[in-house]
Amino acid sequence: MALISLDTSTDPQVGYRPSGTLDAESALAPYAGHFGVRQAAHLLRRAGFGGSAADVARTAGLGASAAVDSFVHPAAPELPFEAYPPREVLYAVKGGQARTGTELWWLDRMLRTQHPLAEKMTLFWHGHFATSIAKVPPALMARQIDLFRAQGLGNFHALLAAVSVDPAMSVWLDNRSNSKAHPNENYAREVMELFALGLGEYTESDVKEAARAFTGWAYDSHTMSVSFDPRRHDDGVKTFLGHSGNFGLTDVVNIIVAQPVHQRFLARKLLEYFVYSDPEPALTEAVAQTYALCGCDIAITVGTILRSNVFYSARAYRALPKSPIEFAVGLLRYVGATSVPPGLPDALRRMGQEPLAPPSVKGWDGGPAWINTTTLLARFNFVNALVATSRPAAGAIPAAALSGAPNVAPDAIVSAAGGLDPARIVDAIVTSALQDDVTGDVRATLVAFLRSGGDAAMTVNPMPFGPENYQEKIRGALALTFNLPVNQLN
């Protein structure tokens, strides 16, 4: 059988680079321009999971430099989050509930964290080192998420070394089965292709030799830990990426991280996550240099990106599609929800991003792959069930999930608008939710909605906007706003 090459490394985001020209010289220089609500909301969306209108105003008041500091070096202490529920508790419930429960545990953290960049990086590394609860026990997944949170803004070199002996990863990519007698190349291959270098930057011989160096790290399912067993380790000489020696796991990690191609590999991924799709090679190179100069320090590299001219440029503004988690958690943070609706993991699965369950070792493709008719309908119906009516259909997420969600309370919006004037209410909504990033047509359509006759099932036909129907009407206008195409952009 003649195997032909099937190109699977094609970056799906090519073609989605913003129009216009990069000013490569000044791209990473600190931004010194106007820092208003648009820039603050942009920072909140990219460096975290968005926020309420009050969060936007507060961030804008800090100015660019202090605002970025508040993400990279948060002064506020983190909330006292509950440690992950012990194993006995999770296994006392049915299997599917342990999965959902673990996902809710993480989503709650995304919603309420005071350190949103750490959580945003945790999500980044979860997609990067894509490990799935479909194969790995929930408790190990939770520990891996804890690892990403603890080290996700630290040093990549240390992070990669930690991931290489992480129990969830050991189960996921089978390094637990990798021994001198029975080498398993799965982790050795992916650490180069997916985690650090990219396809084509190593040979099949490098894979075999790295696998030999990775032998001996056994996983014990009783203690749920990974430890080194010298009897299972191949201690012969290996030749790997041009180096020879009696290499072990740490040596291979050291050699990988020192490859110049690694710097560009990670720089491009960070740019696609934080700035825009298909970044120019010159921009990637500039970030790679920053990353190399600081010795793989993630906080310094990400901080440089978040402070930069290119980050605040018009080309980067709303230039990425929101991932489903960014969309849903962002919505909950915007409305001021204090807890995660129990149906959120299932809703996210329909939107195409169940947390802890990436579709393959390659993680989520992201970019245009987030958007298709099925996933958009899932987004729209999530919003509709959440806010479009106070009388949701059976089985929908109850509006009670939003009790304590002050920013979608119709009375609060009426108060912000100074009365029941449809145009001023639409103003209040689109300014608060979208920093006014809507066209005149959209604004007029929303005003027309408030003025139109209500839903036949609930009113005595046509009823002008007023005291008897403003609650339902404002909820409807909010849903229409959240479901606008522009609100799918981050």
Binding site: A2, T8, G352, P359, T373, T374, N384, A457, Q488, L489
Partner: protein
């Protein structure tokens, strides 16, 4: 002693095709791709892929009833000789597959035995990825059917219908993940819609229809997709409203999905590829009750489906293909179930199918660490479907050349 000659009615005719000539089919399976058949492929052909998820036990599906090793390996969960619906002197259907047996007797079922691939994976997740992306060696981001769609509609072009390919379920299976063709996942007719109160829905339509592409390369794509998504549900219901099923389907969820599949095929929805799931076949304990119930859904559902299609004159252009991520081990376990194994049989069903038995039944004594050895690579089955049913070159889609089987 049960009568080991009481085969299904048509066994004599299919014996010519299959059972009595295993060597010929072993040859066919390893031969070069068949030359063009000198027949045209109907561009309206429809493929229905049925995932038996969880790992279906092949030995209690196609039962090697005359093999003593079978009865020894499964003292409790074996199907007794007297109950087996015999196809020939060696094998027969699980009696729960009586519905499928009727279709077999009509010559519309091909049984492909011992399907698998080298170095089989026993993880549900990974084995499913392997089958659905048709890539045992490397994980792929697109599915085998998704890649077929991408080649039918290269970047920049679009299928004429939003429902060219449909997953009946609320998320896309890996098999249908395409690089640029939008595939609808339809959990149910009511769920596939922009669901909200009437006045909100009306105005949402105004917003989506009036959207103007902006500066961001993503905004135009999102606005267009939102418009399609918004109208898709209503469009789907309108398109299929003209189709009235000619039979009464069973009431289980799988049969409901097949009924919707028939509606899609029989209306002008333009659907060519449908994906349906049935499960869970993960029968680690008390296997008989669970597997038999599911196999009855499968057999009775397919019988109703093809009877319905036949009444509408559509059965000859519909091919249903089953698969499962793995079969199960030969020996029963201590819980009267079976654990994850390897090769299993799959079914190709339809009016255009050359009914019969293909490939050899795997040996129950010549095993690989207690597991069955596969005889036919699953990608040969995919190549058959791509080349001989959908009219596509399979080599680039499957990243290799696999010989087609003469099942269609």
């Amino acid at each position: 002693m049960p009568d080991r000659r009481s085969f299904l009615r048509s066994s004599l005719s299919v014996a010519v095709l299959g059972g009595s000539l295993p060597a010929a089919f072993a040859r066919a399976a390893s031969a070069q791709a068949l030359p063009a058949l000198g027949r045209s492929i109907d561009p309206a052909n429809v493929l229905v892929v049925i995932a038996l998820s969880g790992g279906n036990d092949g030995l209690n599906t196609i039962v090697p009833w005359s093999d003593d090793a079978y009865h020894r390996a499964r003292p409790v969960i074996r199907i007794p000789d007297s109950a087996v619906l015999k196809l020939n002197a060696r094998i027969g259907f699980n009696p729960a597959l009586a519905g499928l047996g009727e279709l077999y007797a009509q010559g519309h079922v091909a049984v492909v035995q011992g399907v698998g691939y080298p170095d089989p994976n026993r993880s549900h997740f990974e084995a499913t990825q392997i089958w659905e992306t048709a890539s045992p060696q490397r994980p792929l981001g697109t599915g085998w059917l998704g890649r077929a769609l991408d080649r039918m509609y290269p970047a920049g072009t679009k299928p004429p219908s939003l429902f060219e390919a449909v997953a009946l379920g609320d998320t896309l299976p890996a098999a249908l993940v395409a690089a640029h063709v939008d595939v609808a996942a339809i959990g149910g007719l009511n769920g596939y819609a922009y669901n909200t109160v009437k006045d909100v829905k009306t105005q949402a339509g105004v917003l989506y229809d009036g959207a103007r592409p902006g500066g961001s390369p993503y905004l135009g794509m999102i606005a267009e997709t939102a418009r399609q998504a918004y109208h898709g549900g209503d469009e789907l219901r309108a398109r299929i409203s003209g189709y009235t099923p000619a039979v009464t389907y069973p009431t289980d969820g799988f049969a409901r999905q097949l009924r919707l599949a028939a509606q899609l095929i029989g209306s002008d929805a333009g659907t060519r590829i449908i994906f349906v799931s049935l499960g869970s076949f993960d029968t680690h304990a008390n296997q008989r009750a669970q597997q038999d119930r599911l196999l009855k859904y499968l057999g009775d559902g397919l019988l109703a489906f093809f009877n319905d299609l036949a009444a509408h004159g559509l059965d000859k252009r519909v091919l249903a293909l089953t698969f499962s991520e793995f079969g199960r081990r030969v020996n029963q376990n201590a819980s009267n179930g079976t654990d994850h194994g390897t090769a299993m049989p799959l079914f190709a069903v339809g009016g255009g199918v050359s009914g019969g038995i293909y490939g050899e039944h795997p040996s129950l004594t010549d095993l690989d660490d207690g597991d069955l050895k596969f005889g036919t690579d699953f990608r040969s089955v995919y190549a058959t479907v791509l080349e001989r049913w959908l009219g596509r070159n399979s080599t680039d889609i499957l990243a290799g050349t696999f010989a087609a089987l003469p099942i269609v």
